[in-house]
Symmetry: C2
Subunit: 229 residues, 2 copies
DNA sequence: CGCGAGATTGATCGCCCTCAAGGTAAGTGG
DNA sequence: CCACTTACCTTGAGGGCGATCAATCTCGCG
């Protein structure tokens, strides 16, 4: 229990949102939070459920999924270790807009909204940070909208790979953050299409694929290639 | 000039963001703001430009447009009269994520970011409202992502029409907020496809179309029909 | 080895875009 | 009042991208 708290504390401190919080407040928050362990595919919360808490990924991965009436699903975002999610619902006091499911064994820290809001109310500068954070998410989603609506499969995958590159000028070797089927869903594609596009890029000499490891000798060439379809 | 300020003041007060602002602060903001008149197609700001202000639509309409490298365009949102836009950039101090263009003759109120931030800094409860507002936009965009990625043209148009209905149980007569080509772009479709889908709905007896006026005898039937492709 | 999950590859199909040709309606000038 | 113009919408034919369905392949593992 103590070990868990310590682990969570250090992880919390690493997030941009909490990095500037005073120790005392962070501890208060932690005593009210609890660790949740999930198996592969377990549902943390479902779309439209009343939101009582938000979450920090301690280990594993969480998929945020939007489902249509027809049963089709789209992974809106893949939440990695040490990322916060669902924190935006706090200010609406409403319900979750997506479903959250574990991708493999995963542990998350569940932080109650009520206490969080109470603390925030007394610390305006923390609010300012929340605002910046939400703005960043807004920009991210706007960018996603563009990707989905006006870019081809090649362009979407290329953008995605380029985002994973630390620097765009040098050769890079990157690791896909999840199994390919999940990456495909994240990009709004089927696994088959993802496979074919990767294959096309490989044949064009732009990337090399080995399991989840992808090496990109010339990221800029990849970007140019995607530009011309 | 005085008339302009009065008009803008009353409009500002009607927006959820400013409705709770004290008169004095609102006037301070107004004296620093200025009215901008735009002709059809005029660009208010372009994507990636440094953001110095955000805007309130006083009359007409503004299209927020995301463009791809290939030149294709998608209307992310259609901003109606009395709606704020671009206010989210304030907290990043960065650049606009989309391009804003006037749809027909339009006037907007240009509100400088610097002053706005300064006021906000001193009024925590106003920040709280900003947070709620940004959360709402986040939810809106998440919903949009779902629409674009997992729904068909029929479903997207049906959802769009249903959102324009005041109540979903009763017959409704609604007015498209812009010319059909713009609505199509807003839905991620071409004008041709929009026309065809409208035609299909008409032949199914679900709607009647007269210029921009659309009557929906049974919104629920429309929703059911869209569910089954 | 055999099993099963994930990845690949091929064949086919459907939705939506593109290109092209009317069609409708409102506004001009004679 | 009527040709003419212009903007917008509609309708049709054809094609491409990515989904679907199905078969095969790879690899880790009991």
């Amino acid at each position: 229990m103590e070990a868990i708290a310590d682990n969570a504390s250090s992880l919390l401190r690493e997030t941009s949102l909490f990095s500037a919080w005073p120790e005392a407040l962070l501890n208060t928050l932690l005593t009210q939070s609890k660790k949740v362990t999930l198996g592969s595919g377990d549902i943390l919360f479902v779309e439209k459920a009343t939101a009582n808490a938000f979450y920090l990924v301690l280990s594993g991965r969480i998929h945020l999924i939007a489902a249509a009436a027809t049963g089709q699903e789209k992974i809106v975002e893949i939440i990695q270790i040490n990322d916060l999610f669902a924190e935006a619902v706090a200010f609406l006091g409403g319900c979750y807009p997506v479903t959250a499911a574990a991708d493999g064994p995963t542990t998350v820290l569940e932080i109650p909204l009520a206490l969080f809001l109470e603390i925030l109310e007394q610390k305006p500068q923390l609010m300012r940070q929340m605002l910046a954070r939400l703005s960043m998410r807004l920009h991210f989603l706007v960018k996603e909208l563009r990707h989905l609506s006006v870019e081809s499969a090649e362009q979407r995958l290329a953008s995605y790979l380029l985002e994973l590159c630390p620097v765009v000028n040098n050769p890079a070797v990157i690791e896909l953050p999840a199994k390919k089927a999940a990456v495909a869903a994240r990009l709004g594609l089927t696994p088959e299409t993802l496979s074919r596009v990767l294959s096309r890029m490989r044949k064009a000499g732009l990337i090399e694929v080995e399991q989840r490891t992808i090496s990109i000798p010339d990221p800029l060439a990849l970007r140019r290639w995607a530009g011309g379809h």
